[in-house]
Every structure is written in C-alpha cells, then in structure tokens.
Symmetry: C2
Subunit: 336 residues, 2 copies
C-alpha cells in the first residue's frame, strides 16, 4: 500500500480518500492549502498521526504555493480544532519558516519518516509480545481502525497484526465493526484484505461472547490517550472487549506511540468523554434507523481501567501491567 | 397499542407489520393461511410468544377458510422450522380439530389470552423487584426488543419498564441498538415512544461504559432460554452488558415467561449457538458496509453465566440468584 499521506514534488500533498473506502480506492491530489483543508474537514484523512503529517506537509505546501503563506498556515492549523496532532504538525513545520521553504519541507518529511519508524517499532515490540503470550498461531480481535490509514503506513495495533501475518505467526483477525461509524467493518477490513490477512467481521456485541467460547486468543487495540496510572482512553466499545478478555483469561494488549502517554492525566476518571452527534447512531448512510424524534447517547470514547490491561506496547517500550509493571517504572528503550 | 396479533371475526388474522416499523405503522389482514404463512416467513410477525399465537390463530383460520385444512395446518407448522413456539401453537390448537372450528378458535383465543396474562404478571413481579433494588427513579438499560411486539401485548423486560413508567417509577430507558438487526433502535424505540417513556438509543459497545460512568441503574433483558443452573441464553450482546453491570455493581435482571425455563439443559455450555448469515453484519438496508469478499462471524445468541445474573423474573416467581436463590429451590407462585 502506498502511504496514506505523502508529498509529491509537483508540489502537492497526496492522500487516500478514506471517505470512499472500502468501495473505491481514490487518491486526492491537494495542490493548494485550501484543497488540503477541505480534505481534512470532510475526513478524507483522519487518525491522529496522519493528521500531524497532513499539518506539516500543508505548511510545506503553503510555502511553495500560497500568495499569503501565514494566512494559509493559520487556516490549516484551525481546520479541525479538536485534533491536537494537526496543530502539533503545523507548529513543528512552521517553526522552520524562517529557514525557508526547503527547511520546512525537510522538517515535514522528517515528521512523516518518524511516523513510519514509530509504526515499525511498535510492530516489532508488539509482535514479539503477542507470540510470547499466546504463541505463533493466534486469533486476534481488534476494534476500530488502527492501521496504516490512521498513520502514514503501518499502524499501531493493526500494524502488529499485519507484522505477525507477514512473519507467519497469525491465524486470523476478528475485526469488531465499531459502531456507530463502522471503522472496523470499513477501514480495518479493507486494510486486512489488502495485506492478505485472513479476517472476519463481527458486531461489537459479539466480541466478549466469542472470547468466552474460546474463539479469540488475545485482544489488541490502539489508544487515544494513556493515563499516568495505565488507564486507557480509546474508541467506544473498547472497554466491553476488555471486560470480555479479563473474564475469558486472555491478554488485552494496547499499542500506541509514546506520544499517546499523558503523564499529566492521573487516571481515566479525569478524562472528559466527548459526546458525538446522535445522528451517527440514528442514521446510516443518511437513512434513518430509529423512529423520528429519537435521541441517542453517543460517547466517542470509553475508559478501560488499568487492571484490565495486560500490557501497553509503545514504540519505545513494553509495560506489562499484569506482571506488576507501571509507566513510571519502565524506562524508554530504543526505537526498533 | 392494539395487540401485535389478533383474531378478527371476518374471519382473518390481523397483525402489525414489523418490517415496516418504525417508519410506518401498518396492519396486515391475513384472510387465508397462505397469506399468514407469507407474513411469518418475511418476519412481519416475530418473537417467540407472538409466533405461538400466530400458529394457533392460523389453525382457527384454516378451519374456517381452507379447502384442505389439514394441508394448510401442516404448511403453517413448517413455515419457520426453527421457531419452536410456532409449532407449539399450531399443535395446541390443532389438538382441538376433532371438536370443530369453534373449539379450535376458543383454544387459539385462550393461548392469546394466556400470553397477555403472562406479560401482565411479569410486569407486576418485575416492576416491584426493580423498585426494591434500585428505587423509584431509575435509568434502565435494555437490549433487543422484548416488548409487546414480541408477544401479543405487554412484553417481558420492556413490559416491566413500561409498567414502571406508568406507575411513575422510571426515569428513562437506554435502548441498546442491537446489531446486527437493530431491534433496539427500530422496535424498542418505537414501543417506548408510543408508550411515552423517555428513552435514548446507544450503540451496543457504549453500554458497559455508560454503566461504569454511573449513568445506568440496572440492566433488564429478556431470554430465549434459561438453563437449569441459571445461565441465560439471549440475543448476542447481552453478555457484554452483563459483564458491564457486574463490574459497575448494578443489578442485571432477566425477565421471561416460565416456559422459557428449560430444566433439561444443565448449563449454557450445552447450548448450540446458531450462526446467522453474514450478510446481516456486512450489509445495511441492502447496501454493503464492508469490502467485497468480506466474511462475518454472526452468532445469534450468547450465554450469560448465572453468576452475573442478579435475578430471574418469570410470570410465576422471582429467583434472586445473587442472594443464593436457584431455579429448583424457588416454587412457582401465582399468576399476578
């Protein structure tokens, strides 16, 4: 698979249009910053790491194509106010503006390459751990999309599964569909198919039962934030799978870059859970599911308490919580 | 609400077309047995108790309208081979055939009336228990559809919630949408709206997290089968909610008629879990969600172990498992 987002020297920022997946694989060429902003706004590119790279490459694009680069950079930075990685990528590249457009581009490409390296390192640490814990022929259940589409390439939890497949150490992935937005059924299934990984899709509610029946060997998910005590904030539905894994006695593994670890947040109870629009639950592809006038409660994330987490895998270390490990106690290791 | 299914003296069997809900409320008049069979086959009427009544009323219709009643009765009995209640209702009414068409109709109407009485009794036992356990202003989370649409009127778990609302002892119902077929979002929401009960719809994966955040006071569900040891077989997704309730320390209540108790099945491990077609997961309203060529794992039911069940409520008794009660130890009481 080509990179989810990349630079083209024409110049342009090229990205796969995730809104067209899985039905159509289309690449967008954004030749101006306003085109890139439009793509970000309509979620053609999504996922925290990918948005960081989009922000940085967008600054490089502004330096080469904009009549007023400063204005375009400011507009890009504000394209999705809640996506902190977008602003982070913009700021890091924009800090090089005094050095000229080549310096900005070099920094943006460095951010891209660092993300690729981070994914590779998580795949190395994570695949080793999975084999150690559940052997060389496991069925892994995953939730939401944590693959190359959320990054530049590779991914977090799904990157581990794909690395295991390539090493001949994976039987199958069960992709939890991930209501309401179905990132599992749409995006994860598409990535697994592309990578030749055997997979099946399951309704979210089926996960814990499949675990109880002995049909899953481990659960492997990403994280939006990891609190200082090891509590994990991730896509809604993650916690239910963690409960299922604990009851079934199988490992529950969290894979995320070191930048996801937030030592300033003590525990999950300190995290504000964003409520998303009810229409995401009440409609599908624009058609109503529920009776007119219905209201939904639609939290975007949930908190998995640290005691349900077997291990956290980052690009720099493995913290085995179930064996007494904790975040402050495990030093950063090398990038692999 | 009128009965989900009833007799009309014209003669005809009249039923609400559940495939049109929640967008349209339409009643079907089946004036011949083949029309009724077609309605059953396309799931215009569903739910074990409702199918039992459909079978019995169908025999009465055959006696009054068929050129060959015996052939029509046999065809009706086989309309949905896995629906044991359909055959049960057919057989019970057909046993009166030697007594003539009036005797058959009287038996069919008796079956209808027994179902109405059973629902009323579960509502009485169950609403009393809920108030005892969680007070007079609870938020109840329910899964799938267990209301009047699955019966003649009233229902099991949802009937309890509606009875509590009518008594001013309910704050709100959270209806779990129930993927893949969305009975919660479609049918439960429609029934709650009709009854004036405040409700919100949630994705299945959100349930345990809402419980952990203190936003749910008790979970109340139906059952397809209750094993001798108290294990509960119910719609896929139920077990995840039971895990969530146990972790949150809130009651998990099961409401089902006494006929659901199956003393010949020792425990959940003895139950064969039906796998349904993958298309239910992979498509929505005929449109594909997942990539072409995807496969789904789509178990129809799951097993909730007895240790996660606070109490089982039937039309004849309350078995408080969490207080040491068990099915053999609690005698049948009166129908209320």
């Amino acid at each position: 698979m080509a990179y989810t987002i990349d630079w083209s020297g024409d110049p342009a920022v090229v990205l796969i249009d995730q809104t067209a997946l899985p039905q159509r694989e289309e690449y967008l060429r954004c030749e101006t910053v306003p085109e890139l902003i439009a793509a970000i706004r309509r979620l053609a590119v999504r996922g925290a790491p990918a948005l960081g790279v989009a922000g940085a490459l967008g600054v490089a694009l502004a330096m080469r194509t904009s009549a007023d680069p400063a204005a375009d950079i400011a507009a890009l930075r504000a394209a999705r106010p809640t996506a902190v990685n977008l602003a982070w990528g913009v700021d890091r590249a924009a800090a090089l503006v005094p050095g000229g457009s080549d310096a900005v581009l070099a920094e943006a490409l460095a951010i891209r390459d660092e993300d690729v390296a981070s994914s590779a390192s998580m795949a190395a640490y994570g695949s080793e751990l999975v084999t150690e814990l559940v052997g060389g022929d496991p069925v892994l259940l995953t939730h939401c999309n944590t693959g190359g589409l959320a990054c530049v390439t590779g991914g977090t939890a799904l990157g581990v599964a794909i690395a295991l497949h390539r090493a001949g150490r994976l039987r199958e992935v069960i992709a939890s569909e991930t209501r309401p937005l179905l990132q599992g059924a749409r995006l994860t299934a598409w990535e697994l198919g592309r990578a030749g990984v055997p997979y099946r899709i399951a309704a979210d509610g089926a996960g814990p039962s499949l675990m109880a029946r002995g049909l899953v060997d481990a659960v492997i998910v990403g994280a939006d934030r990891i609190c200082a005590n090891g509590d994990v904030v991730n896509k809604i539905g993650t916690y239910a799978h963690a409960l299922g894994a604990a009851r079934a006695g199988i490992p529950f593994l969290v894979v995320a870059p070191e930048s996801t670890v937030d030592p300033r947040t003590a525990c999950g109870a300190d995290v504000h859970i964003e409520d998303r629009p009810g229409a995401e639950v009440l409609e599908l592809a624009g058609s109503p599911i529920a009776p007119a006038g219905s209201v939904a409660v639609n939290p975007a994330f949930d908190v998995t308490p640290a005691d349900l987490v077997t291990a956290i895998v980052t690009d720099r270390r493995v913290i085995q919580l179930s064996r007494g490990g904790n975040l402050p106690g495990v030093p950063l290791g090398r990038l692999r």
